[in-house]
Symmetry: C2
Subunit: 220 residues, 2 copies
């Protein structure tokens, strides 16, 4: 057996562009599909082709984190998948809370894609008495008032925030006060929070605007 | 009254980076909030600050499309909002169809953020007999078999695709055959479609992975 490449210096030097980190997720998803089809290795050309990137782009992206390919073989899927997960921090299971159990929140509870990638929604919170106590997809909806105690108990630091825009800032402040350091924000507002708190915004209309632009461009 | 700046040459020369188009949506959202607060003008510094960009970045982004600022005043919100909408193609109302009415699809039907930006979900489709005929948020769920005729009738070219991953490619092929040119894909798979069809992928687990990366980075 040939020894694996030296990844001991795989901690990147200097900041990695956000776009590279975004592409790591895309590579990971394709590698997972590729593995599911029973394939054990993949070349940078093959991986790039699946996503419309050049092989040079693929190699350059991974070079930020170390040396992962084998000459004449390409990448070993299982090894590269694991390496990307370590970089992204998803090689562990993350307990996540859902805050806001309206239509969107309920859909998020039923969304299988999270647990596949290591994110378990372990608790759900709402402020509406009509929702509190209900169970959706096996998760019981708790009162937002119990967030502080439950989040400590369940070691929750990441939250899916699916409350109405009008209350998003106020709720986010409460979450941060309870020790939350990562918020995936589905409310179409920009949250103003301490720098130590990471926020990723998901504004679905933005994605649709980007699509409209692409559709219009193609026709002109 | 002073005359508005000359935007007649506002068609950009050469390709605009995708990241710039993505930022246009962010600028638009902040301008809309700013206007809602009754403010009529905004400087590049103010606009940048809301999003964590430099004023130079803001000015450079808009420079792709023409000259929008007024010396000593900054940008007129209503004018810049309208200009961005024209660029993005959202100065009109887009009829959009939802395909796939499970949990996520139903949440999308109830999501107010789309209509605010000019996207109206005018039809919804599913293949499950138990869902066909039901109405959600005022939209009746139709059989996917009637997509071709209804989409022609309603002039639908953009679709929100919220079907299970396993059937996403097959359904997408059907939609493209019916003349759809833009797909906002919520299934966590990369669709393989003709180049004339624009696809924007929304994989919610990817957003969560990006958040996990940011959270882990902050602590190390």
């Amino acid at each position: 057996m040939e020894s694996p490449p030296d990844n001991s210096n795989s901690k990147q030097i200097g900041p990695v562009p956000k776009a590279v980190i975004a592409r790591l997720s895309l590579y990971l998803r394709e590698l997972q599909h590729w593995e599911r089809e029973g394939k054990e290795t993949i070349s940078s050309t093959q991986l790039g082709k699946l996503l419309g990137f050049t092989d040079a782009q693929v190699r350059k992206d991974f070079a930020y984190f170390g040396q992962f390919g084998y000459p004449g073989i390409g990448y070993r899927c299982a090894e590269l998948t694991q390496a990307i997960k370590v970089i992204l921090g998803t090689d562990r299971s993350w307990p996540v809370a859902l805050v806001g159990c309206g239509n969107l929140g309920q859909a998020l509870l039923g969304y299988g894609g999270f647990s596949e990638q290591g994110f378990r929604i372990v608790a759900a919170f709402d402020s509406s008495p009509s929702r509190i106590g209900q169970s959706i997809a096996g998760v019981k909806i708790e009162s937002i008032d119990s967030f502080l105690s439950l989040s400590k108990q369940l070691d929750i630091r990441m939250v899916l925030l699916a409350v109405p825009a009008a209350v998003a800032q106020e709720v986010a402040d409460t979450l941060v006060g309870a020790g939350v350091t990562g918020i995936l924000n589905f409310a179409p507002v920009t949250l103003s929070l301490p720098r130590t708190v990471q926020v990723v915004g998901v504004d679905l209309a933005i994605e649709l605007e980007q699509l409209a632009y692409a559709v219009v461009k193609t026709r002109t």
